[in-house]
């Protein structure tokens, strides 16, 4: 046997890299517009009152969430899959024409879905269920895309040389299975056009579940779409990229086992915490609450495993902006997975539910953990994929600090906004009457909405630095040899 390293084929990884950056910018741009609309309602008609239908808050809101979840994050997950998968399974995509075709088909179909989602949401074609807004024709397309990815995963596994599956692969498999199960069950719907014998809009459907049941299924999905979209695959990334970039072995295999199986078992129970004090049975709310707290264990298991991987090598955090991104991501993961369980405690939830504190929690998780980890992964991949050094280290550092400041402004302002509003909603005066009318509790939020919009805008600016840095890396950075790509990524000044 020849003794030379495998050449991996990153064609598909590169395609998804492109959509990660582009859809990241689109999704976050929409988010920034929404943030300014809440601070200054005049922004709702920024494109003129004729187009207000398409620029107003409520029409854009699902576009924001779906663009960052199914656009930016999913692209990032797939980009890293088509990179990490080959490397840890020790097999190249180029070895199988079929898998190569499947990968490209995956990307092509995905683009079609993205375009149809954008058009349909702007037109207001939505089922109203959060992160499951797509009507049945798009749902079917999503399933096809998903199955294509599944075939790609198991196809690559089928021809692998490394027999033992690395930790990251466990998490990618779980992502595939988890989302498949959740998405299918939550989107069970009946197309009214066919059921009624050809009346009305062909794309319209009605949910198979009603009322409380519908809510149960939706939040079982909604919460765990977060689990299997924002946690599981991101953990897959950090288990691969942090050890690679730092040159350190994963701290503990046993801890990774505990964290993985713990997460798989516990996460699904916690969906009920979205329904506390609603009309779902009390025992379910309690289960949701209790399991949310238990969830700290497997979450912190992974995070601590990652932080301890850096044991004795902490100088790398100061030296490399790439390690900085990953360590901060891991820290935000710990932070966010502590905050979530706190909000899931019944008495805290009574205050926090329906307020901006929840929005703050989501964003410290996605901006601080998910997006940081995805960008760090892409930064690590870029020199290996393009055979060029990362264009600018100082730009990376600037991006890191601008975005960190952005996240901090975001979640601190939302904490204050949420707790303030929650307290005002429940305040009674000495005679037992409500102390504030609803509008009082809105007016008071203006400064916090403004600070949040500034924080979001900073983060968005950082995305441009990221895109620019990636573009320069791809096109005009110094070329590097394979020998420079062992661990720490080569970076220009």
């Amino acid at each position: 046997m020849e003794n030379r390293p495998l050449e991996y084929d990153y064609t598909v990884a590169k395609m998804f890299m492109l959509t990660t950056v582009l859809l990241g910018i689109v999704g976050m741009l929409v988010g920034v517009i929404l943030a300014w609309e809440m601070a200054f309602p005049a922004v709702n008609t920024i494109a003129g009152s004729g187009l207000a239908e398409y620029t107003n808050f409520s029409r854009l809101r699902p576009l924001h969430t779906d663009a960052v979840i199914f656009g930016f994050t999913l692209s990032g997950i797939w980009s890293t899959w088509y990179y990490v998968g080959q490397r840890v399974l020790k097999v190249s995509m180029a070895e199988s024409k079929f898998l190569m075709f499947l990968g490209k088909l995956h990307f092509g179909l995905y683009l079609l879905v993205v375009v149809s989602v954008v058009v349909s949401l702007l037109l207001g074609v939505t089922t109203s269920k959060e992160y499951a807004e797509f009507e049945w024709p798009i749902d079917i397309a999503v399933v096809v895309v998903w199955v294509t990815w599944g075939m790609s995963i198991f196809g690559l596994i089928g021809i692998r040389r490394e027999k033992s599956l690395y930790i990251s692969i466990w998490y990618y498999i779980a992502t595939f299975l988890g989302i498949a199960m959740l998405y299918l069950f939550n989107n069970m719907e009946i197309p009214t056009f066919f059921a009624s014998g050809g009346i009305g809009a062909w794309y319209h459907s009605v949910s198979m579940y009603s009322g409380t049941n519908d809510a149960l299924v939706q939040w079982w999905y909604g919460h765990n779409a977060v689990a299997f979209g924002f946690t599981v695959p991101i953990v897959a990334m950090i288990y691969y990229f942090l050890p690679k970039e730092s040159g350190q072995a994963v701290y503990s295999y046993k801890l990774s086992l505990l964290a993985f199986w713990g997460l798989m078992f516990v996460y699904l129970w916690a969906g009920g915490h979205h329904l506390i004090y609603s009309t779902v049975p009390d025992w379910m709310q309690t289960m949701g609450s209790v399991f949310s707290v238990v969830l700290i264990l497997p979450s912190w298991g992974s995070a601590i495993n990652m932080l301890l991987t850096m044991k004795g090598e902490w100088q790398q955090v100061a030296a490399s902006p790439l390690i900085k991104f990953m360590i901060l991501a891991s820290t935000f993961y710990m932070f966010s997975t502590l905050e979530g369980p706190i909000q899931a405690i019944k008495s805290v939830n009574a205050l926090a539910h329906f307020t901006d504190w929840i929005v703050g929690h989501v964003h410290d998780g996605v901006l601080g953990w998910v997006a940081f980890m995805i960008m760090a992964s892409l930064f690590h991949m870029a020199p290996r994929v393009f055979k060029r050094e990362i264009y600018s280290k100082s730009l990376m550092n600037t991006q890191f600090w601008i975005q960190t400041l952005g996240v901090v402004l975001y979640f601190t302002s939302m904490w204050i906004a949420g707790i303030t509003q929650g307290m005002m909603w429940r305040a009674h005066d000495e005679f037992g009457n409500l102390a504030y009318s609803f509008i009082d509790t809105v007016a008071v939020l203006h400064p916090y909405f403004t600070i949040r919009a500034v924080g979001g805008t900073l983060y968005f600016l950082g995305m441009f630095l990221f895109a620019f840095n990636m573009y320069k890396t791809m096109t005009s950075s110094r070329r590097v040899e394979e020998s420079e790509l062992q661990n720490a990524s080569p970076m220009g000044a």
Partner: protein, 230 residues
């Protein structure tokens, strides 16, 4: 065992699936038989109300408004009786929302009028100074989709036995019947008759003219829906 699983991807995948599916089976399935029984006084939506509900969904009103009153004094003082599971029996999909940028709307029909909604949807901060809700002027121009609403009525009636054209017990001891038309033309006529009642309370001349001419603007359907929330 774990080492073995890591070398056998198929069994690994099965083990993961069983582990994650477990919670759903135990938490979700048992509730299905119980939760969808309507309480007395709950009615399915009329064609126009359903069309209005579609307008509500089309514009993601649920992104900022909840329809779930929690059992706290501060909420029952503000919004009325706390929500009961059976009240949602005919809600497909549920519209509880997850954020109250604006107030809850579960029982908005009890304390807001057609006139109030008309002015408010046109110029929210003119009605509620300081409001950050955008105006929804296009609802006064777009036409409501009665066809799709009727198609949905047929679907839920056929598939889920949603009780249209049946006497239903109301809270005050009377009976009420929600009609589902036999034909599409009849559905249009019924919706228009309902729309005329709403339009009579409105001031916008374009809307009145449209209804007079047999058209139903989205705003009329939306108000019919909001008025039905009690």
């Amino acid at each position: 065992m774990f080492h073995w699983l890591e070398k056998h991807p198929f069994f690994f995948a099965v083990a993961v699936f069983v582990t994650i599916a477990f919670a759903g089976l135990i938490e979700i399935l048992p509730n299905f038989a119980e939760a969808s029984r309507p309480v007395i006084g709950t009615k399915p939506y009329s064609t126009l109300e359903l069309a209005g509900r579609h307008v509500y969904i089309k514009n993601s009103c649920n992104a900022c408004h909840s329809q779930l009153v929690r059992p706290f004094k501060s909420e029952t003082d503000r919004y009325g009786h706390y929500s009961l599971s059976g009240e949602y029996a005919y809600d497909r999909p549920f519209l509880w929302g997850s954020k109250r940028t604006g107030p809850d709307l579960m029982r908005v029909g009890n304390y807001r009028t057609t006139d109030w909604h008309e002015n408010h949807m046109k110029d929210p901060s003119g009605v509620v100074p300081g409001s950050i809700m955008p105006a929804y002027t296009w609802m006064f121009k777009n036409t409501a989709d009665i066809d799709t609403a009727y198609a949905e009525q047929i679907t839920v009636n056929k598939v889920f036995n949603t009780p249209y054209n049946q006497e239903l017990p109301m809270a005050d001891g009377t009976k009420a019947t929600v009609k589902m038309a036999a034909t599409l033309d009849e559905a249009h006529a019924d919706a228009l008759a309902e729309a005329k009642v709403i339009a009579a309370d409105m001031k916008d001349q374009d809307v009145k003219d449209a209804v007079e001419a047999g058209q139903i603007p989205e705003i009329v359907a939306l108000i019919a829906y909001l008025n039905s929330l009690k």
